[in-house]
Amino acid sequence: MTDLTPPVPTAPALGAGRTSIIRMIVRDPLALTGLIVLLLMVLVAVFADLLAPWDPLKPELALVNAPPGTPDHPLGGDGAGRDILSRLIFGSRLTLLSAALAVGVSVVIGVPSGLIAGYTGRKFDAVASWVSDVVLSVPNKVVLLAVIAAFGPSVLITMTAFGVLLAPNLYRLVRSQTIAVKNELYIAAARVSGLSDTRIIARHVLYVVRAPVIIQSANLAGIAIIVQSGLEFLGLGDPGQATWGSMIGNAFAVLYLAPTAMIWPGVAIGVTVAALVLVGNGLRDAVQGTSGRAPRRRHRRAAAVAVPASETASAAPVAVSDGPGELVLEVRSLRVGYPHGETTSVVVDDVSLAIRRGEVLGLVGESGSGKTQTAFAILGLLPRGGEVLAGSILVNGTDVVRLAERERRRLLGRAISYIPQEPMSNLDPAFRIGQQLVEPMMTRGLRRAAATKRAFELLAEVGIVDPKRTFDAYPHQISGGMAQRVLIANAISGDPELLIADEPTTALDVTVQAEVLALLRRLQQQRRMAVLLVTHNLGVVADLCDSVAVMQNGRIVEVAPVTELFGNPRHDYTRKLLGSTLDDTDARPAYREPDAAPQEARA
């Protein structure tokens, strides 16, 4: 997002449209430079006849090894007495042509075969992948030398052969991209809509594949230029045509007589390849900003509410219950925002709440209400760019907002611990469960043996029947419910006083949810933990919470003990929220046979 535009309530401001990628490249100075250089090269190649002052092939005795600055021959002459500038200009023709030819051939072979292999799979995929592997394992230069030996020094034939050798690079790229996009639901929807496979590929798959292919092609073009120049340098080119590679070869032969002659073709090759790489990188950056994938729900941030930074706080409800037990968590007038230059999108505003030992506070609201942002602010784990702008967060009386980063981190896993929403993505698939339990305990000073023993106890405590087996398992070997139990074991391993659970049962099946809720209830009562339970599920709130804070648009609109909130909601929004549960709605009235032929006739 640029600093000039104020933040808008919808998340990404960057467009993924067709024009915006070009616009982004134009804005990137390096890519723009590369693009301009390439365009100039193409113009030079096209108008070589007009631009070149002399015939590139005509030798002139007086010009043999003439130094740069010779009248009418600004770059001098080569060992055979030919004008270097003219040769350079004409050389761009064959160089660019050969790069275009190699890339063109590899695109024509690699892209369609990759699309078919990725989309249909099966036999074609098996055969094409095998061929691609074979081609990739053959040494390129040797094949090219063989081609030249067989067909003579024709650039067209050599570069066509090189294009075939490059094709597996594109094939593999396109195939993997196609496989990735094939499972997107919109492809399934297109199939159900009655689109033919060709149409689906042309419309949906090609769009995703297009950008990586262009990027890869830019790199391949650079490689083709270098390889082609290398062959020319070795004298394997057509002597009847001026190319940059053969110019270097010629200059090399007279290196001691005319040392500067080497510079010009060298610079030309270097600049062209660099320009291709810059354009490729610019494209990559532009595409990464505007990926073809839809943002997933779990990555979404709370919708931002643009509020001028000076707005004063109004009297918001404060979630403090009377009663025994010291305060474990107290949040006062918390404001969390994401600054963008002049303006700040405030996602949590004037939130105050408190939890006593042994108490469960539910924080409910719909997506974008700021409930998760509040939880992350308390943990000190706000996403990049997020800041606590005002207010204080007291854990056991200490304001953690003012603590140094290191001391704050030390609280996590000790005084405060956390249970996430998606158990599976919070376990590292590369390590055994046991190790992921033992390691945090070891950072807290336990020896390995003691930590291992404790891990077994914890696994048993969270209701895992065979702790040994789970301890030795990898995350993919256990179910989602089991994974959540493991994370709960991890959360209680540091004997926390405050447990923050962010939608702890949302990703679970309803029967598993009931078990995990029962487990949380038992642990909370046994350990007298203070719990902040972030959820959108009012049933979970009714099951577990002592009191409830309802959030809307970053503010707490109502706080009440749980029975009071459900029995006598005061705020309109709370009433609306309670009203939208489907728990007590009547079942659908009985089915009636629709009238004969109502909407059957098609327009």
């Binding site: 919808t10 998340a11 990404p12 467009g15 993924a16 449209g17 639901l185 919109y186 399934a188 929807a189 297109a190 199939r191 159900v192 809509s193 009655g194 689109l195 033919s196 496979d197 995703v208 073809g292 839809a294 943002p295 997933r296 729900r297 719909e366 099946d509 309803v510 029967t511 598993v512 949810q513 009931a514 809720l517 029962a518 959108h536 009012l538 049933g539 979970v540 709130v541 009714a542 099951d543 029975t563 459900f566 609306k576 929220l577 939208s580 549960t581 489907l582 728990d583 709605t585 009547d586 079942a587 659908r588 009985a590 089915y591 009636r592 046979e593 109502p598 909407q599 059957e600 327009a603």
Partner: protein, 278 residues
């Protein structure tokens, strides 16, 4: 009058490894749906409910059994015939984020099925305006991209796409599971209104009994690839006969602390009872 009849349907997926047993996702499922009816399909993950919906759509491989639509067996149609069936059978998926191509405008998305079936461009444009109106989206929504809409609005776009060809059956695969509570209720009511106006038939797949109860005339409960209970929606979702359905009903927490406590205690007692028996 029966629109869709599924009989002893078996779906198997091959598993990795030499001579390994295939995974049987559906173990002989039978179900029927009448014209203009909503049949709710409820179950937990791995129960096969989504596989059944996908089999009707031709997206899952059918090993044996039949799916009869109107008077025609559709379980092993060729691709071409399947494409023709797109006029009659459509889908709304769960995830409103990945079910719409982010690169296409809403108009492009909605015109896709129309153009694929050979509707002229002018007629397609008129139909798109009609569809946007039908699902309660503003007329200018057509020029915008999916990312400019909230989850609920995206799901309306997906519903409009499903309606574009005036299908007889729409398979709704967890269409409201990714939505907020208040949005959920609105989208469900939209689906009911559309059904009453057009007489379309729904196969409604969901894990949530209360959602299924709200929209379904009849409910089928699935467990491990089998339908364990199938009957009147009200009866199945309030006084079920099968023990598994009862477990399912008892497990979902209700938004009422006092009643939830009773349910919890009943459930704990039941669990203690089975533990004692075992």
């Amino acid at each position: 009058m029966t629109l869709l009849e599924i009989d002893s349907l078996v779906v198997e997926y091959p598993t990795r490894g030499f001579r390994s047993q295939p995974f049987r996702a559906l173990k002989g499922v039978s179900l029927d749906i009448r014209r203009g009816e909503t049949v709710g399909l409820v179950g937990e993950s791995g129960s096969g409910k989504t596989t059944l919906g996908r089999a009707v759509l031709g997206l899952s491989p059918v090993t044996s059994g039949t799916i009869r639509f109107e008077d025609r067996e559709i379980q092993d149609l060729g691709r071409r015939q399947r494409r023709e069936l797109a006029r009659d059978i459509q889908v709304v998926f769960q995830d409103p984020y990945s079910s719409l191509n982010p690169a296409l405008t809403v108009s492009d998305i909605l015109s896709e099925p129309l153009l694929a079936q050979g509707t002229p461009a002018a007629a397609a444009r008129a139909r798109i305006r009609e569809l946007l109106d039908q699902v309660g989206l503003p007329t200018d929504a057509g020029d915008r991209f999916p990312r400019e809409f909230s989850g609920g609005q995206r799901q309306r776009v997906a519903i409009a796409r499903a309606l574009a060809l005036r299908p007889k059956l729409i398979v709704c695969d967890e269409p409201v599971s990714a939505l907020d509570l208040s949005t959920q209720a609105r989208v469900l009511d939209l689906l009911i209104d559309i059904q009453e106006a057009t007489g379309v038939t729904y196969l409604f797949v969901s894990h949530d009994l209360s959602v299924v109860r709200h929209i379904s005339h009849r409910v089928a409960v699935m467990y491990r690839g089998e339908v364990v209970e199938f009957g009147d929606g009200d009866q199945v979702t309030s006084s079920p006969e099968h023990p598994y359905t009862r477990t399912l009903l008892g497990a979902a927490p209700v938004a009422d602390p006092a009643r939830q406590r009773e349910r919890r205690e009943a459930r704990e007692a039941a669990l203690a009872g089975t533990d004692g028996a075992a």
